[in-house]
């Protein structure tokens, strides 16, 4: 059990780090997908198989591809090798992120009293129960989700459509 955890976590961390550090965008996206997959594995370890499946379907299958499409459409697969990939003031960003990790998140975690083991070790949710929960307490949330996705669909199409309005002259 533990080996799986450590292996998957190492994969996840590596994938994440590479995703944010690679110059080649497609390589970065690939590493992101590895990250997603490793997380899906985590979910399985945590007895949430449905979520693992959904993770693969949605993230790896849709979001990843979507990112690849976007990379393709922006024609900048690799940035110029002489340019730096980090923005101005990246040190501040590093500092902020490290501060968040080491001064806020970790102390809280390490100092909290957390249960060591799951309360019901053998529980695993069935898809049926998830479906029933969707219908019962989470009906409205489901509808709102649908609405949200519809809006996102329309919005994405509208924003990214090719017709350039006359007043939006592209900057040279």
């Amino acid at each position: 059990m533990n080996i799986a955890f450590y292996l998957l976590s190492a994969l996840a961390v590596t994938g994440a780090l590479l995703a944010i550090r690679l110059r080649n965008l497609v390589h970065a996206t690939l590493c992101l997908m590895f990250f997603f997959i490793s997380l899906a594995g985590m979910y399985v370890l945590l007895m949430a198989e449905f979520i693992a499946a959904v993770q693969i379907l949605v993230y790896v299958g849709a979001v990843g591809i979507l990112i690849l499409f976007a990379i393709m459409l922006t024609h900048h697969i690799t940035g110029a090798t002489r340019e730096r990939i980090s923005s101005r003031g990246w040190l501040w960003g590093l500092g902020a992120a490290l501060a968040v990790l080491f001064t806020v998140l970790l102390p809280v975690l390490l100092l909290s009293v957390l249960p060591a083991a799951p309360a019901t070790p053998d529980f695993s949710p069935s898809v049926r129960n998830i479906g029933l929960s969707l219908m019962d307490p989470y009906t409205i949330t489901l509808q709102v989700m649908g609405l949200l996705l519809t809006a996102a669909l329309i919005g994405a199409v509208a924003v990214a459509s090719t017709s350039v309005r006359p007043q939006d002259k592209p900057r040279t």
Partner: protein, 103 residues
Amino acid sequence: MVTLQQYLILSAVLFSIGLLGALTRRHAIIVLVSIEIMLNAANLNFIAFWRFAPHPENLHGVLFTLFSIAVAAAEAAVGLALVIAVYRFNKSPDLEKMNSLHE
């Protein structure tokens, strides 16, 4: 046995990595990628807490994560559409060039 704490530490680390990317990279798409990393770390947090919580049969954690994934997908779609649109205008995905709101 993997303790909750370990899951949470992993989640925190992944979140910070995502935050680092969002705060550091110049490319707009990579910033969106980092955001996805952050969201995933948060999902992991949810599932971990659900699993180790007293009444996992309520499935609250699972459903919440489900919705979180849905939202993240929608947001990724719209965000990438935005990046494409801005790229057409600026001819570059460089975030440093997108400073029209400056003084």
